[in-house]
C-alpha cells in the first residue's frame, strides 16, 4: 500500500518530470495563462535566445490589466504605454501561435475568469500565470500559482517549472454559514486569523462542510485570496459541482475522454490519514460579514466592530497599524458602520463573476445608490457581461445609479484610467487594500459584493444583514 497523500501530493506526483537529490524538481505545466503586463519581457527573452514556445496549445493569452472598461474602448487605448503593452501581446500571441482572446472578442476578460469559463482549467492540472491570483484556479482541484516573468519565460520555453515542494496546510470551515455571510467573508476571515504570512511555504487545501456548500464561483473567491494569506496555492477537492460546472465548456473533454477524465478526477482528494504540516479550523457559524480597516488584507473586522488602536497589537504590527490608520484617515474607536465612503467598485477576479453580480442585484433591486457616490460594476468577462444583461441584472444596476462597464481588471489595480483620487474612500470587492493600490493615496475597504452593494445604498460601510 502506498502512503496516504494529500490532494497536493497527488497532483505534484502526477506532474513530476525530474527530481534531483536535493528535492529540486521539474514540474510539468498543463496550462499557462498569459496577460499583457508580465509577459512582454518573457517573449522578448525567447526571441533573443532564438527559442520557441514549446506548447502553444497549452498557452492562453488575454489582455486584461490595462484595457479600458468604458463603452468607447473600441476606439483604442489612449494611454500610450498601455496601448504598446496590449499591442505587444497581440503580436506576441500571433508570432508564437498561442490561443488568444483579443480586446474585441466577447470572451475577453480577466485571465482568471476566462480560464475556468472556457474550460481551460480542469481538476488535477498544473496551472500557472504571471499573476499572483492564479490561485483562483485551485477551486477546481488544480494546482495553480503565480510566477514571475523569468518563470513565464521558463514555462514558455520548456513547459516546466523548477520547484521545491511546499508543505501541506489544511483550512477546514465546519458547519453552515449564517445568512448574509459569503465566500468572501470566509476567505477574509481566514486571512484575518492566520495573517498575510500565515500560509507562507504552504499549499492550502480548503475543506469542510461550508466549503462543500459553496458554488464553484464561491470556491474561486476563496482560493483567489489564498495568496493574500501567503500560501503558494489554494486547493479545493473537485466534486459533482465541479464536474457539473465543467461539462460542456468549450475546452472541457468530451465523449470517451470525458469518462476517462472523470474517473481520474474522482480520485483527487486528500486521503484520510494524510499528513498535514498545519491545520486551521474555523466554525462557519462564527463568521460574520467583514470589512478591512487597514492597508493589509489581514486587517479584517466584522462590520459590527470598531476601528482598532495601534496599542491593540504587538510587535511590528503596532507601527504598521499606526501607519495604516493614518493612511486610511481613521480614528480608533469609530464604529465601522459610521465610516463614509465616496466610491464603490464591484468587480475583479475575486468577485467579478455572474453569481457575484446576482448578489449585488439582490441588494440593489428597485433602490437607488446614495446621491453623489461614484459607483461602478465591471464584469469579469465579456460573457459575464452578456449573461448579466440577459438576466436583467444590468438594468437593475443602471437604474440604481451604477456605471455598467466592459470587462477588465479596472479599479482592482488601477492601471487603466479607473482610479481613486487621493483621499477617496472606496468600498471594493477586489482583493488588495495596499497603499496606493486603487490610486495614489486612495483608501480601500475590502468586502463581499453584497456588502459593497449595501454600502452603495447608504454611502457608508454597512451591514448587509440590516438591509431588506
Amino acid at each position: 500500500m502506498t502512503a496516504p497523500k494529500t490532494l497536493y501530493d497527488k497532483i505534484w506526483d502526477a506532474h513530476l518530470v525530474h527530481e534531483a537529490e536535493d528535492g529540486t524538481s521539474l514540474i510539468y505545466i498543463d496550462r499557462h495563462l498569459v496577460h499583457e503586463v508580465t509577459s512582454p519581457q518573457a517573449f522578448e527573452g525567447l526571441r533573443m535566445a532564438g527559442r520557441t514556445v514549446r506548447a502553444p496549445d497549452k498557452t492562453i493569452a488575454v489582455p486584461d490589466h490595462n484595457v479600458p472598461t468604458t463603452l468607447d474602448r473600441a476606439g483604442g487605448i489612449t494611454n500610450e504605454e498601455s496601448r504598446i503593452q496590449v499591442e505587444a501581446l497581440d503580436s506576441n500571441a500571433a508570432e508564437f501561435g498561442v490561443h488568444y482572446y483579443p480586446v474585441s472578442d466577447v470572451r475577453q476578460g480577466i485571465v482568471h475568469i476566462v480560464g475556468p469559463e472556457q474550460g481551460w482549467t480542469l481538476p488535477g492540472m498544473t496551472v500557472v500565470c504571471g499573476d499572483s491570483h492564479t490561485a483562483t484556479h485551485g477551486a477546481f482541484g488544480a494546482l495553480a500559482h503565480g510566477i514571475g516573468t523569468s518563470e513565464v519565460e521558463h514555462v514558455l520555453a520548456t513547459q516546466t517549472l523548477i520547484q521545491s515542494k511546499s508543505k501541506n496546510m489544511k483550512v477546514e470551515i465546519t458547519g453552515t454559514l449564517p445568512p448574509g455571510v459569503t465566500a468572501k467573508d470566509i476567505t477574509l476571515t481566514v486571512i484575518g486569523r492566520t495573517g498575510t504570512a500565515g500560509g507562507t511555504g504552504h499549499v492550502i487545501e480548503y475543506c469542510g462542510e461550508a466549503i462543500r456548500a459553496l458554488s464553484m464561483e464561491g470556491r474561486m473567491t476563496v482560493c483567489n485570496m489564498a495568496i493574500e494569506g501567503g500560501a503558494r496555492a489554494g486547493l479545493i477537492a473537485p466534486d459533482e459541482k465541479t464536474f457539473e460546472y465543467i461539462k460542456g465548456r468549450p475546452h472541457a473533454p468530451k465523449g470517451a475522454q470525458w469518462e476517462t477524465a472523470l474517473a481520474w478526477w474522482k480520485t483527487l482528494f486528500s486521503d484520510e490519514d494524510a499528513h498535514w504540516d498545519k491545520v486551521i479550523t474555523i466554525d462557519a457559524s462564527e463568521i460574520a460579514p467583514v470589512v478591512t480597516w487597514g492597508t493589509s488584507p489581514e486587517d479584517v473586522l466584522p462590520i459590527t466592530g470598531t476601528v482598532p488602536a495601534p496599542e491593540d497589537f504587538t510587535g511590528g504590527k503596532v507601527e504598521a497599524a499606526r501607519r495604516a490608520l493614518d493612511y486610511m484617515g481613521l480614528t480608533p474607536g469609530t464604529p465601522l458602520s459610521e465610516v463614509e465612503i465616496d466610491t464603490v467598485f464591484i468587480g475583479s477576479c475575486t468577485n467579478g463573476r455572474i453569481e457575484d453580480l446576482r448578489a449585488v442585484a439582490d441588494v440593489l433591486k428597485g433602490k437607488k445608490i446614495k446621491e453623489g457616490l461614484r459607483a461602478m460594476i465591471v464584469p469579469g468577462s465579456g460573457l459575464v457581461r452578456a449573461q448579466a444583461e440577459e438576466e436583467g441584472l444590468a438594468e437593475i444596476f443602471q437604474q440604481a445609479g451604477f456605471e455598467w462597464r466592459l470587462a477588465g481588471c479596472s479599479m482592482c489595480l488601477a492601471m487603466n484610467p479607473d482610479q481613486l483620487a487621493p483621499g477617496e474612500r472606496c468600498a471594493s470587492t477586489s482583493n488588495r487594500n495596499f497603499e496606493g493600490r486603487q490610486g495614489y493615496k486612495g483608501r480601500t475597504h475590502l468586502m463581499s459584493p453584497a456588502m459593497a452593494a449595501a454600502a452603495a445604498l447608504t454611502g457608508r460601510l454597512t451591514d448587509v444583514r440590516e438591509m431588506n
Binding site: L26, V37, G146, E153, Q159, T196, Q257, F434, R437
Partner: protein, 201 residues
C-alpha cells in the same frame, strides 16, 4: 542571469513589516516592456511626493543610505503581486541583497532570477543587523554567499541558509532555462506518458 558571490556594502534599515510589491514598484511603472530602468521608480510613492520632490524622511533618501546595496527589512517582505518589476527595480537601484525575517514566496523566487540574494533569518538576528544598519554609511556589512555568512561592521558573524540549487545558479549566474532544456528528453517522455494517461490535457 546575473551573478551574486560576495558583497560588502552599506545596508539600509527598513523595519516596516509587510512591505508589499505595490510599495516596491507602483503599478504605473508596470507598463514598461523592458526589464531595465526601474531603479528611479523604486518605492516611488514613499520616496517622492506627487510633484516628484524627495521625501527626506524616507530611508533611501537619507544621505548615508543613498548608495545602499543591502536592505534590512521587516517580516513578510515582498508580499502581494508576482510582478518581477519589484526585483528589477531593486537591482536597478543598486541593491542586491535583502535581509528579512520572512519573504513572500513569489518575490523570493524572483530575486534569484535577477542576481539578488534574499536572506531569511530569525527575528533576533535581523534585529542585530537592523541595529548595525542604523549606524549609517560607515557601517558596511559583508554578505558571502559561498560561505553563507554575513559579517556585521563589528565583525559579528551570522550564518544563513539557502537552497543548494538556487545558490549554485546564483554563484555562477546560470541560465536555468538552458539547464532545463538539457532535460528535454525527460520532458518528451513525460509528455508521451501524459498523452496516454490524460489525453484531454
Amino acid at each position: 542571469m546575473q551573478k551574486f558571490t560576495t558583497l560588502t556594502g552599506i545596508a539600509a534599515p527598513m523595519p516596516q513589516i509587510n512591505v508589499d510589491t505595490d510599495m516596491i514598484i507602483p503599478k504605473q511603472f508596470l507598463k514598461t516592456i523592458k526589464r531595465t530602468g526601474l531603479g528611479v521608480n523604486l518605492f516611488d510613492e514613499m520616496r517622492f511626493d506627487r510633484d516628484g520632490n524627495e521625501n527626506p524622511d524616507f530611508v533611501l533618501n537619507k544621505p548615508q543610505y543613498r548608495d545602499a546595496e543591502i536592505l534590512v527589512a521587516g517580516e513578510n517582505f515582498g508580499c502581494g503581486s508576482s510582478r518581477e518589476h519589484a526585483p528589477w527595480a531593486i537591482r536597478d537601484f543598486g541593491i542586491s541583497c535583502v535581509i528579512a525575517p520572512s519573504f513572500a514566496d513569489i518575490f523570493y523566487n524572483n530575486c534569484f532570477k535577477n542576481g539578488i540574494l534574499p536572506i531569511a533569518l530569525p527575528q533576533e538576528q535581523v534585529d542585530i543587523l537592523m541595529k548595525d544598519a542604523e549606524k549609517g554609511a560607515n557601517a558596511r556589512m559583508t554578505v558571502d554567499l559561498e560561505t553563507q555568512e554575513i559579517t556585521t561592521s563589528d565583525g559579528e558573524v551570522i550564518r544563513f541558509e539557502v537552497d543548494a540549487f538556487k545558490k549554485h545558479c546564483l554563484l555562477n549566474g546560470l541560465d536555468d532555462i538552458g539547464l532545463t532544456l538539457e532535460k528535454a528528453a525527460a520532458i518528451d517522455s513525460f509528455e508521451a506518458r501524459q498523452g496516454q494517461a490524460r489525453p484531454w490535457v
